[in-house]
Symmetry: D2
Subunit: 388 residues, 4 copies
């Protein structure tokens, strides 16, 4: 049996990072439905992130996206965040929205564009220096839409060069989190399509480069928890972008589409000893709340991850090992499912109460009046969004 006190300690210590851009407007290529009360600047995004932390207690950092969160004074932004009780998390780069990047950024056939893109990556490290951020998150929209459009292998050479230059600029306590994605916005080949590609580059870069798993970036049928287990074994898992999907990169709330998968992923995290913040994985949300209200959706996503984690922690690992070693297929599966089928909401309510929080963060948020306040206050200006 799992040690309940230890489970509660682990849950209390869990950390989930929220992304600044999830508080802004988002949508599909068909339409962005603007929402009232959405932030107009990085400060307002941080205030929303701090609100999520206030009600959940486990989301003390917020990731930035540059240039969406560009400010003149990053030290000031950091202080502002700290004044609200949160810190700056990963710095996410954006080399896909400038007109120059139509055919790629660091893998573009044009050397000038590659220079521009790489300079942006270096600029992001400077922002990390200023904000105290440890993590440089790299996602490249680079790829091609048509067979023959560009040379797949030349693009790898260009990618490797840009990564090397960026890696060499990292400070002692900084690191690269290299994300991969099967498709979108490129529709024939992407330059970092899968974990293997990211892993191979990270191996060549060195210890400070690790793989970031976005749970929505895989081919149908991919077993994500296997990748988690494998990368932990190789000591190369650095971060998550949590979200969920039924089809492609749907970016729905984490745990909404397949809560059992989320549980299996968190079980591998627990089994690999990687839940503890000291291990160093950045557990981040990366979602789009296209039609639902953003702050409670993010609170709900945090809670979904907490519930999956609680179930993972409740697995009777001794009984599981016994059944596994005995080759008792049904019993081993039953031990795992026994934890999954447990209703962990009362347990999490206790953990929250112990931390001085409302046991029901969504209800508490709704009662708090925060939503009404931002709807009333944030009028005028340019709402934040992917185009901002």
């Amino acid at each position: 049996m799992a040690d309940l006190a230890a489970v509660k300690r682990a849950l209390a210590a869990q950390r989930i990072e929220t992304p600044s851009w999830a508080f802004g407007n988002s949508g599909t290529r068909f339409k962005v439905f603007a929402q009232a009360g959405v932030p107009r600047n990085p400060q307002e995004k941080i205030a929303d992130a701090a609100t999520v932390h206030r009600f959940t207690g486990v989301a003390p950092t917020v990731a930035l996206h540059i240039p969406w969160d560009k400010v003149d004074d990053y030290a000031e932004l950091r202080s502002y965040a700290e004044s609200l009780g949160v810190g700056i998390g990963a710095v996410n780069t954006n080399v896909f929205q400038d007109d120059a990047y139509k055919l790629g950024s660091v893998t573009n056939p044009d050397a000038g564009v590659r220079r521009k893109a790489t300079d942006h990556l270096l600029e992001a490290i400077a922002i990390m220096d200023a904000t105290g951020s440890r993590d440089l998150k790299l996602w490249f929209a680079d790829g091609i839409n048509y067979p023959g459009q560009d040379d797949l292998r030349n693009r790898q050479d260009r990618l490797a060069a840009a990564l090397r230059e960026t890696y060499d600029r990292l400070g002692a306590d900084q690191r690269i989190l290299l994300e991969y994605k099967l498709f979108e916005p490129a529709f024939y080949a992407t330059d970092v399509p899968d974990w293997g590609t990211s892993y191979a580059h990270c191996i060549e870069l060195g210890e400070k480069a690790t793989v970031c798993i976005d749970t929505g970036h895989h081919a149908p049928g991919t077993n994500i928890e296997f990748i988690v287990a494998f990368l932990l074994r190789q000591n190369k898992l650095g971060a998550f972008d949590f979200n969920s999907r039924f089809y492609a990169d749907d970016d729905l709330m984490a745990g909404a589409a397949d809560p059992f998968q989320l549980f299996r992923i968190m079980y591998e995290i627990v089994r690999g000893g990687a839940l503890d913040p000291a291990y160093g994985i950045n557990f981040m949300l990366d979602q789009c709340h296209n039609i639902e209200t953003k702050i409670p959706a993010i609170i709900r996503s945090v809670m979904n991850i907490q519930e999956a984690t609680a179930k993972a922690l409740l697995v009777d690992r001794d009984a599981l090992s016994r059944a596994q070693n005995d080759g008792d297929v049904l019993e081993a599966n039953a031990v795992l499912m026994d934890a999954y089928n447990t209703d962990v909401r009362p347990l999490l309510a206790e953990v929250r109460a112990d931390a001085g929080l409302d046991p029901n963060p969504v209800a508490a948020y709704r009662r708090s009046g925060y939503q009404e306040r931002i709807v009333q206050d944030r009028v005028g200006g340019q709402q934040a969004g992917w185009g901002a």
Copy 2:
């Protein structure tokens, strides 16, 4: 052996419709890369469509998208098109970009929104009356992102009611083309996800309702040519939206991702006697040229369909039937592949020359100076795009 003269006659008679919106800007949720020379209004789109027809000879109609192509005087628009040698094709409705449609249009839980959406469908029929268009193309972005968000079955009832009201308004020579799509922009359930759903509604509506197949709207692994063959057998195939994809609804140039699939689709069209324009299928392109120049991309797409059709027409159907009836798997496959492996470009060059066209439409377009002219002329104003 196929009768070469008959093949050439069939190719000369083939008709492919171009979509007005493919000449405008498009992109992904990450970025729309604007292109120089893109139309600023419906008239300029029609001029581009007429240009495609001038060089290919098989694209004499252009589909409209309402409200993107809204004008004050549709009779005038029709005359303008005819003056350029093209006609108005299908009228495509758009009930996904108004803020009211965040939770659906004709399936929205709010009766007022449903009324508004249905009124738009009826308005589109009025435009058909004014433009002489025969086809009302219905694609609904309706669906839900989260389990429980709305009742799947109530939404079907609402859909059926809107379709019925629309159907009853159709003129004697008008018809509904009901499109289906697995996902996007809805990410959990769409209200017309597959051909079966469209078919069942069409059966209930009556003879003037038929299914529209968008080649990019299926689950991975779906055998599209089977659907073509089946719907032809049921007399319920009304239209195509041609494009191609490697992953989801990528909207690449038709034939670019899987030319063999396009050939198999066109073979079922030929085998079902449905290539002849008199059969009544609207063979339309529906694509996004996000990074490639639009007019030559559309010319190329038309040519890809022509090449697939030529190969389909070259299948030695007597030999094929013999091998099929003999149960000779290898020979039957070989007969089909023999046609596919033929280089039909010389044959199509002849067909074009016979029609007084340049045998190489892309090269002719490039030499024509049209592209340079529109880039120079179309400066200022608001470029057409999905948001326009």
Copy 3:
């Protein structure tokens, strides 16, 4: 709030049919791992099915597979089953294992083979007459492996003819359940690949033909609960083949791969008023227990369906409707998830205790000594399996 007494009544009344062949050996093309104690004849399969019913109380019928379960005297087989407390359920036909069926059964280009296959279907109806079975389950392995191998449309004509002849032979209280499958064993096109194809044939056949959904027979990403909802609305859902899968037709224990999906399916059943045995749906298991012990695996599968059903029954449908009609995406989803996240095992334990059953069927089975007994007794002879 759901009415708990009504929930318990519904759970007590639920019926799940077990398949005789799941008690026999099964495997993949790579290997069939034989298990000790596996039945050697239809009687022993029925005895195992009766055992599952003895411990679960909700599995009172067992489906037959002809010719795997061929006996000389079906009336006697029926009596034997009844003496053990179970009845004969659906009769499943098998037109894929005779050498004649290499290129298809009812869709074979050879008329003689088609005759032979159709005769088998008619023979199955005779067995239904003798056993009192109501349901003729039709699954056709028919299809082709290579483009061109046979004419897709001719095969539909042949299929329609065989179905018509079979349908016309049905007794007043008998019906056809027409299954569909995307692929395997045919690898390019199957003759009934999706629900739409089955539905269209059933519509043409008449009232006594309905669709059977095998949960493992879809393309990746298919929303099965939508199909359930849609077919219930059309009054054309006749049966389920329950199992689960991560990839293709894996035939794992129901609920093992995606318990949330099973819940969503059962929710549509409940919402459509179709759980009640009087509605007439045949809820059958169709699984392969390749590596796990068969009887407890089947008990576990029955329990998984019960748990999904219990959660579906617990959905607060008034609150759900309110949130749906209000367009409150998060709340509507939360109402559904609230039921899903409930631990229903205590509730089901009560339902079982009320019925005089052990609250834990798997543990009770393990204690019963049945497994040890069959392993000891069933020595010699030919174990049942797909080849038998």
Copy 4:
């Protein structure tokens, strides 16, 4: 423009290995349809492979599968093969058909089973010593069907240990080809599911371990040519198992399902300088001819690969590079497609004629009387198959 003489030299030098087991019976879990004339022993399989080489001229080696091709004297088998004009190719291991391997072979929780499996791998190296084979092909059916069934990470440790022991036993000129597969026969997680896993193990093993790509072993949508390009860049691509599929591991004839994909794969081979036999890639077929006659199906598969290769060689790489570097998407794609759309059958007919072969290998085989002879001669005995 491609240098035609060089193209012909490259095509004449191309080498494709045939698999002994493809000449035997195969099927699906539903049925194996036996064919007349199928080999009864390794010698007859080799005779068939030699026949394929006789008519194609490019298939001079045949891969063995142990224990299916177990003989007392491997040196004698090698001499026999050489007397027919072919050599022994890769030795394929089989650790999935013994009853002991129900829960895995080298990753089994039972140390005794792991010992037995590893011993088989070592035995295969001894057979390589005796036959002069360079390649040890490792495919593991290992994996689990249910979440929790076994510990994913412990299984990696066991796999690494077995691979290490095997690697250390390799002779100076021998190497490991480590295959990966997403699923089947394991249905939840396989122990080497993707190229990344194989690659990571190969990197750790050393220079003599390289990745084997089976074209049917990927998740839907996987871009295989990207993997080819990437592994060539990393110098870690060792072998192919060619076949084709529409859905899962269908094992259809290479090039049958997606000839354009095969062309793109071969283009990356050509572009990477890896077509030359001196580069060292083992281009093998691995197929199942379940319903079509085996020898002509294999001849046809060889020809399909030749045609894809010829098209790849015809790509105007200077024009392609120019268009790519100019960022001319349409022109770059057009250059590639120009080669794909070429009918290369006349060119290959010339290459064959130059080599003293019949220009049409399938027709020549059919005229040769070989098929009739084996049907007549190979009567009695036990036909070879996966169970043999």
